[in-house]
């Protein structure tokens, strides 16, 4: 299991801090700068919050599995649940000029990750795949 790690948490908001901590450490291992770490941490948190809210309808004792993978191309995060299937069409945030609470999470996820994709092959629940391509570094 080279260059990957998995964290499994209950679907309770109090464990989101655990996921954030793992995300930051994995991002550091991937060589991310502070601003990138902040964006990626927020995005993974938002995706897990959405699992709690929508896939599990607020049920706090289900499981969320978050896999991290550091590859040549970048940083990959896969978030799995066994809750209600996401309706891909409803998966859009509000227009940012429409000021109201909510609808911001999806934008924050898309801002941090180049690929944001639900895996159709998963039978029960959802598997959301996030990939952030890493820019080549000077001198590397």
């Amino acid at each position: 299991m080279k260059d990957s790690a998995v964290i499994i948490i209950p679907s309770h908001p109090r464990y989101l801090s655990v996921v954030r901590a793992v995300t930051v450490r994995m991002g550091e291992l991937c060589g991310m700068a502070d601003a990138e770490l902040e964006d990626v941490k927020l995005a993974v948190d938002e995706a897990c919050s959405n699992v709690i809210k929508y896939a599990y309808g607020g049920n706090t004792d289900k499981r969320i599995v978050v896999r991290f993978k550091i590859t040549q191309k970048g940083f990959e995060v896969v978030i799995e649940d066994s809750g209600l299937k996401a309706d891909i069409d409803s998966l859009k945030g509000r227009s940012l000029s429409d000021v109201r609470p909510g609808g911001l999470g999806i934008h924050l996820i898309r801002r941090a990750f180049d690929v944001v994709d639900f895996d159709d092959k998963k039978k029960r629940g959802n598997r959301l795949r996030l990939i952030r391509y890493m820019k080549e570094k000077n001198g590397d």
Partner: protein
């Protein structure tokens, strides 16, 4: 997240620290709503020690702002750290909130 409510020249200042996320924002929401239900004319939110905010935290302030605007109250945010300001900018909420550098600016403007 920790919440402390202090008085500054007669105004309520909500001093926040730590992470505002889906776990802590309902607690924050409750505190804000207690003040808003009392129709406080001015509410200052001190962000200096806030280390993190997610969309549920942002949504809580949008809700608070709408609540205060309904009776002509003013909600002012101050001391927002750079990383958190960036999220207000991104979500275009920097145009909607009154944002100040420090408590004096917030109080006097």
């Amino acid at each position: 997240m920790e919440i402390e409510i202090v008085d500054y020249k007669g105004a309520n200042v909500v001093v926040l620290s730590g992470d505002i996320d889906m776990y802590s924002s309902p607690i924050l929401r409750k505190q804000l709503m207690l003040l808003i239900d009392k129709k406080v004319p001015l509410l200052l939110i001190d962000f200096k020690a806030v280390s993190y905010i997610d969309s549920s935290g942002i949504a809580t302030f949008v809700e608070g702002l709408k609540g205060m605007m309904s009776y002509g109250g003013r909600l002012k945010l101050l001391g927002i750290p750079e990383g958190i300001m960036e999220i207000f900018n991104f979500s275009k909420l920097d145009r909607v909130f009154e944002i100040y550098g420090n408590i004096d600016d917030a109080f006097n403007n």
